[in-house]
Symmetry: C2
Subunit: 415 residues, 2 copies
């Protein structure tokens, strides 16, 4: 068999695995309980590997917040000292079956969404999505949000889920794509549908009224609560397609605010990186592009499996947040067909005549066409200490795909 045929076959296998992935929420558990290899005094972060000293401002701010949250430090100064002295271990989420939005910090006591890919049995984890600490803010209020998640909301949801048994996420994802969500920055529909499912579980689990009211208030008022579930789903789906010899399909895109990195199914655990790009976005009042940090977060796992920017044509409601016209948005979704391997059989875009979502990014096609994946994303400040400041669109840097393709040629040149 010629190499080209081997690649086609491998890519077909990769996308078939992605299409047949069945993400199911099976637990909401403290990271320390469930994440393999997560040690005490260790913090996980978004994107490819990076040292504390090379981290961007927002990621440093979030890491300081994470230390305060865990009680490993009492003040930001104390936290910085520990970090500067190398007393806190730092590793990427992706090295532990996990993903995290923006700075992506995960620490042992933080409850995570635990999603199992029922088709293949692998699990993936994602942390809570919130508008402050994950963007680099480490104020008392930012830490309070994490504490409420740890002490009230997550344990209540866990009890409810235990009563429910588990929750299939594919039906929510399918429906949300028909309801104007793109499953990266617009989760209005999926969050509402998810809240309805959990409301039944909460009622059925006989949870005390105070916790019930607080948690119902949280889940029905949180327009992005499903992002954490979509990210864990994306990771569980993409991981099952990883490690197929000869496959040129991308199985991770992740950014740490300094570097943008990709992983490829047939290229093992190596990251192919390039400097994180600038996001072309709209800013919240009081902020301008001069404040904006570079592209950051594991959330591009949604684009990796064909959501986010890839389905933005079906989510015109997001344009007030990220900019652009409905026609441009549809243009992006159509453009992504040029660099992908297949269309999904279940996840469809009604605004584009109900065609399936384009998925299975092929590094060969990206390099050949010079079309890079479009990602819609939130924007963090370039300095530590700020909440979300904007959102916009960004393209994955072509250099990642080029260096991956070179590595691919080297690895498989014997054939």
């Amino acid at each position: 068999m010629e190499i080209k045929q081997k690649i086609e076959k491998a890519n077909e296998e990769a996308v078939q695995r992605m299409i047949s992935g069945l993400p199911v929420l099976v637990d909401i558990a403290p990271a320390g309980e469930v994440v393999p290899g997560l040690e005490d005094r260790m913090i996980m972060h978004s994107g490819p590997p990076i040292e504390w000293k090379k981290m961007c401002g927002a990621q440093r701010g979030a890491i300081i917040g994470a230390l305060l949250f865990e009680g490993w430090a009492k003040t930001p100064k104390e936290a910085e000292k520990l970090l500067n002295n190398g007393e806190i271990k730092i590793e990427p989420n992706h090295h532990h079956q996990a993903v995290g939005p923006m700075a992506g910090t995960i620490t042992p006591s933080m409850p995570l969404w635990v999603v199992e890919n029922k088709t293949f049995g692998n699990r993936a984890f994602c942390r809570q999505v919130e508008p402050k600490q994950q963007f680099g803010e480490f104020s008392e209020e930012a830490i309070k949000g994490l504490e409420l998640w740890r002490d009230i909301w997550a344990p209540t949801l866990r009890q409810a889920l235990n009563k429910m048994g588990e929750l299939e996420l594919a039906p929510i994802i399918t429906k949300a794509l028909q309801m104007g969500d793109e499953l990266h920055n617009r989760h209005t529909a999926s969050s509402s549908l998810f809240a309805n499912e959990m409301a039944k579980g909460i009622a059925d689990a006989d949870i005390p009224k105070k916790e019930t009211m607080m948690t119902l208030g949280y889940i029905t008022g949180h327009n992005l609560i499903f992002l954490g579930l979509a990210m864990a789903s994306g990771k569980a789906i993409a991981d099952a397609a990883h490690g197929i010899d000869y496959s040129t399909v991308v199985t991770a895109m992740a950014r740490n605010g300094t570097d943008f990195g990709i992983r490829v199914s047939g290229l093992g655990d190596e990251w192919f990186t390039a400097p994180a790009p600038v996001v072309d976005g709209l800013y919240l009042p009081g902020y301008t592009s001069a404040d904006g940090g570079l592209d950051m977060g594991d959330s591009a796992i949604t684009e990796t499996v064909g959501w986010g920017g890839f389905v933005i044509g079906g989510a015109p409601g997001i344009l007030s947040l990220v900019g652009g016209t409905p026609e441009e948005a549809i243009g992006y979704s159509k453009e992504m067909r040029n660099i992908t391997t297949a269309t999904h059989s279940t996840y469809r875009m009604p605004g584009l005549g109900s065609i399936g979502t384009s998925m299975g990014i092929d590094i060969r096609k990206v390099v050949q066409t010079n079309i890079t994946p479009i990602i819609d994303t939130a924007i963090a400040h370039q300095d530590p200490g700020y909440p979300i400041i904007g959102a916009g669109l960004v393209r994955a840097p072509i250099e990642c795909f080029k260096s991956a393709l070179i590595a691919f040629s080297k690895k498989y040149s014997g054939d």
Copy 2:
């Protein structure tokens, strides 16, 4: 002032009243408690006035079902006898501030959504939306659905709403239009958002677990539950714009499966009717167009205030139900600008660059352009005894608008 100016001024007033309408759910109460003029042994129905003997099959079936539900008859035969003998009074919903989906039957013990237009203080009522009795089915199962609504779901929701005080519907409507609902046949988003709100009220009202679980199951599983609320909202909004001298704006479109009727703001309570048209639709398995009854229901009150077919361009998810392409749907929404008076300042369509919904149908513009309002609607069987059999698109008959314009000329010819 010339008559043309008087009309423009009156129409401006009519649409301003529509735009400023603020629908709020204030109660869920048995019709007999709240509907003015609803007597014992009286049934209200959809569309313009019609006698029992001239009713279409589906409406007759639904009326038989309503008698069985009220216990006024024990068998369909007995019901028919009472009706043939004129022992049951029959009047249109629209004559009692009410609207009802499809056959639209409302009887005294049936709980209704009570929506108050807070800007003007007027109230409107709509009944529960379900897939059987309102389409003409009068089986035990169909009646059971009404009984559950009367005995469990509605009283539970009423208790919850009492605890909540009231529920503003405009935020749900606004959000749902950003989420692919057109607020006539697609209510996936609005129903989900509504269920989110009611779940909190149910929890807060300390309702017993059995009723809680049954009602949460009902509201989270009913994709069209918000249609009744949208219809009551539409009626409350349109009624406030009715009765303005010189206004050529349509304030009601309603069908009884035999006749299609409209009312016009400046033309009092007169109905301008034409034979109900055939719906161009898709049929559920086992049915064909040969089974389909003619256009039926008060639900075109949604199009009257600028929703439904008028915003179908923003609701591509509905096309699998009613047929057509996303481009055609956007075309309909754009076309409706030609026959309307204004665009709404709050209700917007993200898929059309976030322009406001077109509203305030002007009978002059309809007649001048020969463009008639587009309505997307469900389809009932032509014979009594069937559930929903399909859905599709239909145009309001031009004759209604022509005869209204003639009446308008007569009424205001002295000027």
